[in-house]
């Protein structure tokens, strides 16, 4: 006999935004979303929402920029000033947004392929410049949206649609890359670590400079399935079992393999002057009184 669902919400009732913490940040008219059953992107959005609440960020001055891919669709589901830009170029768009209006808190929310392959150049330069951006990189180890192609983060020996005989390219160690490029805050969690992820995002909001938070997330439909690793829940159990929290670990040691240990934690938390601070200081030094600070770019 089929169970009767003992829920107090009617079939089409949208939850009161005041009750479920994440609901106030969602474009409820667009939910259910397109992400697959067991995909972890939605889970990261829960952590993001709680970070927004906890850090008491002024939502009116928050902008979210994404690229193309499954994670790129986050921009379309959050009720914020959100920009779904071109593949790989969320970071330069976000840079323009931030420089034109330094009062904005700009979050870049995008995937591993978008940020480290086509967007790789922009990733390293923004980190180098220490542009004040909070980058949430959801790493599902694959190009999911387009059907499961190899990404620079796909672990060795995985099967993908463009490496049907197994990936033989070494994969990126993103925390290491971004630290070397100059990021001031680097952390990695998985979608199992919902509370820690939320805390990291809150910490990133308090930092001035380029923050990078990698979240390992399941792609059940392509990565998990093609590699016979089960479904999203199996991935979550794997994260639970095989993650090791090592805060402060040297990023050179946090590379990933297909079924090995996943080192998670806050790896880098340092101080460097951000781009706008450096710019202002240089102009002040060189121009003295002739330096005119950028006015409010309100052209209405």
């Amino acid at each position: 006999m089929t169970d009767c669902l003992n829920t107090d919400l009617l079939k089409n009732e949208i939850p009161d935004p005041g009750v479920n913490p994440v609901e106030q940040f969602l474009r409820s008219d667009r939910i259910p979303h397109i992400w697959c059953p067991g995909c972890g992107i939605g889970t990261t959005v829960n952590s993001f929402a709680r970070a927004l609440i906890e850090s008491k960020i002024d939502l009116g001055s928050l902008a979210l920029v994404s690229g193309i891919g499954c994670t790129g669709r986050v921009a379309g589901y959050v009720k914020l000033d959100s920009f779904h830009t071109t593949h790989g170029r969320a970071i330069p768009f976000a840079t323009g947004l931030k420089l034109a209006n330094p009062k904005l808190n700009v979050v870049v929310y995008s995937g591993d392929g978008d940020l480290s392959a086509i967007g790789g150049n922009h990733l390293i330069h923004a980190a180098r410049r220490n542009i004040d951006l909070k980058v949430i990189c959801v790493n599902n180890l694959i190009y999911a949206m387009t059907g499961g192609q190899t990404a620079p983060t796909t672990p060795d020996h995985s099967t993908t649609s463009t490496n049907p005989y197994g990936v033989f390219e070494p994969s990126f160690n993103l925390p290491h890359l971004v630290e070397a490029a100059g990021a001031v805050y680097v952390a990695r969690w998985t979608t199992f670590h919902v509370r820690q992820l939320s805390r990291s995002i809150s910490e990133a909001f308090k930092k001035k400079g380029f923050s990078f938070i990698e979240v390992i997330s399941p792609c059940p439909t392509l990565y998990q399935r093609r590699n016979k690793l089960g479904d999203g829940l199996d991935a979550m159990k794997y994260y639970k079992e095989k993650s090791k929290v090592r805060n402060g670990a040297p990023t050179s040691e946090v590379g990933m393999t297909m079924t090995g240990e996943i080192i998670v934690g806050k790896f880098v938390d340092r101080e460097r002057p951000d781009y706008l601070t450096l710019m202002k200081s240089q102009y002040t030094e060189s121009l003295g009184e002739r330096f005119v600070e950028q006015p409010e770019m309100v052209c209405s």
Partner: protein, 77 residues
């Protein structure tokens, strides 16, 4: 009496199983009922065990479940 109560947005659920797995007190199980997309949403099997911790809500990738601290008892709306 339960310290918390779970609400489930049946039509959003895609039966990934995260909430069932990660509820620390095993309040939930996937039901044999269907939503209109053909998924089996969870249902509450141990209501008294719910602490209102909302881990289910934090894990749910579909924003389909959340728990609240019960206000002096777990009566329905």
């Amino acid at each position: 009496m339960a310290k918390g109560r779970v609400s489930i947005v049946v039509e959003r659920c895609k039966a990934c199983g995260f909430c069932v797995e990660f509820c620390p007190t095993h309040v939930l199980a996937l039901s044999s009922a269907f939503n209109s997309k053909g998924y089996h949403p969870p249902h509450v099997v141990n209501p008294d065990k719910c602490s209102g911790c909302d881990l289910c809500g934090m894990y749910c990738p579909d924003f389909a479940i959340y728990a609240t601290k019960a206000a002096g008892g777990g009566d329905k709306k």
